[in-house]
Symmetry: C2
Subunit: 366 residues, 2 copies
Amino acid sequence: MKIECLKENLSKGLNIISKITPIRASLPILSNVLLKTEKGRLKLSGTNLEIGINYFLGAKIEKEGAITVPVKILNEYINSLPENKINLTVDKLQLLIESKNYQTKIFGMDPQEFPLIPEIKEDWLAEIEPKQLLESINQVSFATTIDESRPILSGVYFNFNQNKLTMVGTDSYRLSEKIINLSKKFKKDFSIIVPSKTINEIFYIISEFNEPIKVALSENQVLFKIKDIEVVSKLIEGEFPNYQQIIPDSYETRVKINTEEFIQLVKMANIFAREGIGNIKLEIKNKGEITISVSTASLGEHISHFKAEVEGLDTEINFNTKYLLDALNSLRSEEFYLELNGKLNPGLIKPVGKKGYLHIIMPLRA
Amino acid sequence: MKIECLKENLSKGLNIISKITPIRASLPILSNVLLKTEKGRLKLSGTNLEIGINYFLGAKIEKEGAITVPVKILNEYINSLPENKINLTVDKLQLLIESKNYQTKIFGMDPQEFPLIPEIKEDWLAEIEPKQLLESINQVSFATTIDESRPILSGVYFNFNQNKLTMVGTDSYRLSEKIINLSKKFKKDFSIIVPSKTINEIFYIISEFNEPIKVALSENQVLFKIKDIEVVSKLIEGEFPNYQQIIPDSYETRVKINTEEFIQLVKMANIFAREGIGNIKLEIKNKGEITISVSTASLGEHISHFKAEVEGLDTEINFNTKYLLDALNSLRSEEFYLELNGKLNPGLIKPVGKKGYLHIIMPLRA
């Protein structure tokens, strides 16, 4: 291989690849990036065996070829170069990077040994705007579990139906549902469960782009493609729980709350809560007086009061503060409704004046 | 105790105290701050048994008293309060913080059990401008060791002589010396060795102020006072090594180098060096051609070239890159001289056009 390319493009690709590449992999070659000339361009590939990324960039190709080298080192080294034009040459299993003022040699590994990233036919089933997808992923992926013993709950559920895309994340103590309507109908209806980790990588990658993300499927893999980047991820197999039945369709108490103000109060209470078992008590009484209280044996106690618009019955309920803060931070609205059905049933949180998003949290027993 | 004070002042003090307070102390009370009314003000005290800090702030005192509470929690809690006026009340061993909208109780510990911070007579021996001290500390303290088996080398040596203050830090592989001339003569000549850790805390604290720092001594403690803050530190006992004899007074080779450009080149080389034993080779030849090279068995090799003004003999020398980067970052000058006496003798680095600072590094054998 002998090519010339621009530092800027090479850096961007190496940055993305290095986000998914394990630093100390059981299989050492997984810490490497594969550089390969392909159809007149340079292809960078990285994989952690769950997610694979291909990144294509323009290059002047003098001689075809391939090599794999440690991605973190190459990325840092390329970033440190003063010139914008970079010459890469492969000599046996060494990558040479040279200019007038420096000569560098990085030892590589055989590209033949690099794990294949599955190829998926570019039969596009759906197209999504990255900004909309980004916000939606943010609103649901935090509610999934990292507990690997329940693989289905470690993924985000996507349901593509006509032109309605529903996304759900749950760890069984809380659930986020986001529905977006797209202008273009999907080529066919389908449902998949994508590992939450992949989703967050995609979130990172798409945050820069302004073109639609295209989605294609194989039997157990999904391909997301945006511009010159392909992200291929394993799918989680199994049936997603029938979550619709736990979404309450009525309430005994409904409170309309200012989001920012409430976040501040919950954060104050959390300074105490996190030293104990992590929960706070909300009391709603006298048609609008609300009390947040927390008490821990080791540290002390804290009570705060505020007023809000309340419909329905007086009540009280205990929530985990971390879960509550996660939910509040996912709202993206000035005000929200908290809908309750007594102290033992799940609470529902949804933005005031915005459709398509809801979050459910299970209460804790006092 | 019953007082009212301003959040801003209380926060500033708690912030400073929490910098030295151990989070998990063998003696739990060391994680606490002592709040005590004293001469019409509120005194905050914290200590890690090596350094103690007293911070005084204005307060309306309704009732005298004292308590100790966990400083990290109190600091975070005070910072989260929306109001600027804060009411603190001590009720037995509880600190109450109250307003219309919240009531908070933090469990404390007996102030009688709080370790005493030694009192030192305010017989000021020297006064130093904080900015000058700050820069000087930065230039020498990084060269001290954290190895506790050689306590003298874990401290910064201060020599106050007439109106010349000399500061030295060394870990025996490198040495930094900084001399500053002060306008005011010291009350008497003296030398002390102050733990490097204290010095860095003082550095942090003084970075905000514009008044002189005053210095007083007791037998084995030093007091630094600036505005309403007292920092009391243990001194390190023993004789500081006679370091003057290792400062070379001539050179066989002298190179004048652009600091920023050289830092970039050493950083590039360091990407390779740190994967190996951490050293790079400098070769100086043909009256001004300089080569930096590094080679590691696992990763590869890197060579870079640049030109500089050279006086004297061609030579080569190996340095540890971390030490070299530390030294370069301490220079604060556009250009520097590197003075060498062959590959086995220490190299001397000093800024071009600025007096009072020098750094010595021992070479490594290839």
